[in-house]
């Protein structure tokens, strides 16, 4: 089979490096919101700190999004909040982050009804954590973004934020690293197996992923898998899974922009 084009289809990547940063930051922001929620519910003494961190991360993430947007100097972003698009993962994410931001702000102020902030945080943080995976999996035309990423992304998102918490010497974080890492590894294996044993298109996608960063992907997997072995060295135990999760997430976002149309 031989194909030639006159003019080319629009197959270039639509998400670029700022989007990768966004996917990293949103994992942290969503994860931080989850931690703040838990802290709030468990009346953890550091809940104000976590709320502040959550706010900072959300703002940072929003700034990244704004920089990434080619429409950054048009005030069109407001339309997200003027429309009702619950089927759009980005709409859900935007509301999730905004609600988390507002709730965190009041938690930090320690003003207002705690029950309301807790409720809002539960919903908002859940949305913020889940939406990146949803934004990918919604595209049934992109074979690397399988339904498995719906679980893989929240998991690795939590792993990201907990690793950083561990790095920042939050005692409770340590015990979560290994389980989250191993759960992520398991999901990555499920993800790969799903591709390798799927239909023609899934297998093409598997080959494609292996051909475009397969080694890096394997490295990410290994980094997460060795966590139980190295967990005694605090800094390393935090950085290794953090790197692993980030590599895997970034590759899935970056390489996954392929679709096999017309081949």
């Amino acid at each position: 089979m031989m194909t030639e084009f006159y003019a080319l289809p629009n197959t270039e990547h639509f998400w670029h490096w700022p989007t990768l940063i966004h996917f990293f930051l949103v994992a942290m922001a969503g994860g931080a919101a989850v931690i703040t929620t838990i802290a709030l519910l468990t009346k953890h003494p550091k809940v104000r700190t976590y709320a502040l961190v959550t706010m900072v991360l959300i703002v940072l993430d929003l700034i990244t999004l704004w920089i990434e947007s080619p429409a950054r100097f048009r005030f069109t972003h407001v339309w997200i909040f003027l429309s009702f698009a619950p089927a759009a993962p980005i709409w859900l994410g935007a509301w999730g982050l905004s609600v988390s931001l507002v709730a965190s702000f009041f938690v930090w102020l320690q003003k207002g009804p705690r029950a309301l902030w807790a409720t809002l945080l539960i919903i908002g943080s859940a949305l913020a954590l889940v939406y990146p995976g949803l934004a990918l999996a919604a595209n049934i035309n992109r074979p690397l973004w399988t339904p498995v990423v719906l679980i893989l992304f929240p998991l690795t998102g939590m792993l990201t934020v907990i690793s950083i918490a561990h790095l920042l010497k939050q005692d409770w974080a340590k015990r979560w690293i290994a389980p989250l890492s191993l759960a992520s590894v398991a999901m990555v294996i499920v993800y790969l197996a799903g591709l390798a044993m799927g239909g023609t298109e899934a297998r093409m996608a598997f080959d494609y992923l292996m051909g475009h960063g397969g080694l890096l992907f394997a490295l990410g997997l290994v980094l997460m898998a060795i966590v139980p072995v190295i967990r005694r060295v605090p800094v390393v135990a935090a950085l290794v899974p953090l790197a692993g999760a980030t590599i895997i997430r970034s590759l899935i976002v970056e390489v996954g922009q392929i679709q096999f149309f017309g081949f």
């Binding site: 089979m1 031989m2 194909t3 030639e4 084009f5 006159y6 003019a7 080319l8 289809p9 629009n10 197959t11 639509f14 998400w15 947007s69 080619p70 429409a71 950054r72 100097f73 048009r74 069109t76 972003h77 339309w79 997200i80 003027l82 429309s83 009702f84 698009a85 089927a87 759009a88 993962p89 980005i90 709409w91 935007a94 934004a135 919604a138 595209n139 049934i140 035309n141 992109r142 239909g199 023609t200 298109e201 922009q257 679709q259 149309f261 017309g262 081949f263």
Partner: protein, 195 residues
């Protein structure tokens, strides 16, 4: 209500790209992105060959995956079935680009998503889209599917066979390929049909 649609007779199309060039000027499509392109594919071995010339563009799906993922409602389906974009509502998130299974959407350098809009400004004046008007092989027909006397309805009725792109995805394209030259239909779509 109407359902605007297009049909391209692949038995006549020679892949000359007049449609693509016309679109470029009519819609001021920037160099580097395209609303319409031609995919020429050859299968077989010498001397038993089939070459298919296939223009591709937005298919104005009846069940368009690009629309629900848009967070601002800037991607929408008009009452006449044209899948359209309101550029002033677009935040450039590219979710719709990701969702389109046909590579039809691009980011305009001015910061909004764009694609074929069936030349809605011409349709409003009762004219045919620019690509349809100029096609030297007259292989394109356009019109309302709900009107049995429209060009497109007539073309569909007269076709030896009708094929859709990636039918397995359930997008319900309203761009129909007529009389594909290969026995099995559109080249590169064999897998789509069996799966």
């Amino acid at each position: 209500m109407s359902r605007m649609a297009m049909a391209i007779d692949l038995a006549a199309c020679v892949g000359c790209a007049a449609c693509s060039v016309a679109c470029k000027h009519e819609n001021e499509v920037p160099i580097g992105v395209n609303r319409l392109w031609i995919r020429n594919t050859t299968i077989g071995t010498f001397p038993n060959l089939v070459t298919e010339f296939r223009p591709e563009q937005c298919l104005h799906c009846e069940n368009p995956p690009c629309v629900p993922v848009c967070p601002t409602g800037c991607c929408f389906v008009r009452a006449d079935g044209i899948v359209d974009i309101e550029p002033m509502k677009c935040i450039g998130c590219s979710a719709c680009i990701a969702a389109c299974p046909y590579d039809a959407r691009y980011m305009h350098p001015d910061g909004y998503v764009s694609k074929c809009d069936f030349c809605k400004h011409r349709v409003a004046k009762g004219e045919l889209p620019a690509c349809v008007t100029t096609c030297p092989t007259l292989c394109r027909s356009f019109g309302d599917l709900d009107d049995p006397n429209s060009d497109v309805s007539i073309a569909l009725r007269g076709a030896r066979r009708v094929d859709l792109l990636r039918p397995g995805l359930g997008t319900g394209p309203k761009l129909y390929y007529l009389n594909a030259p290969a026995k099995f239909g559109l080249v590169g779509e064999e897998g789509q049909r069996s799966s």
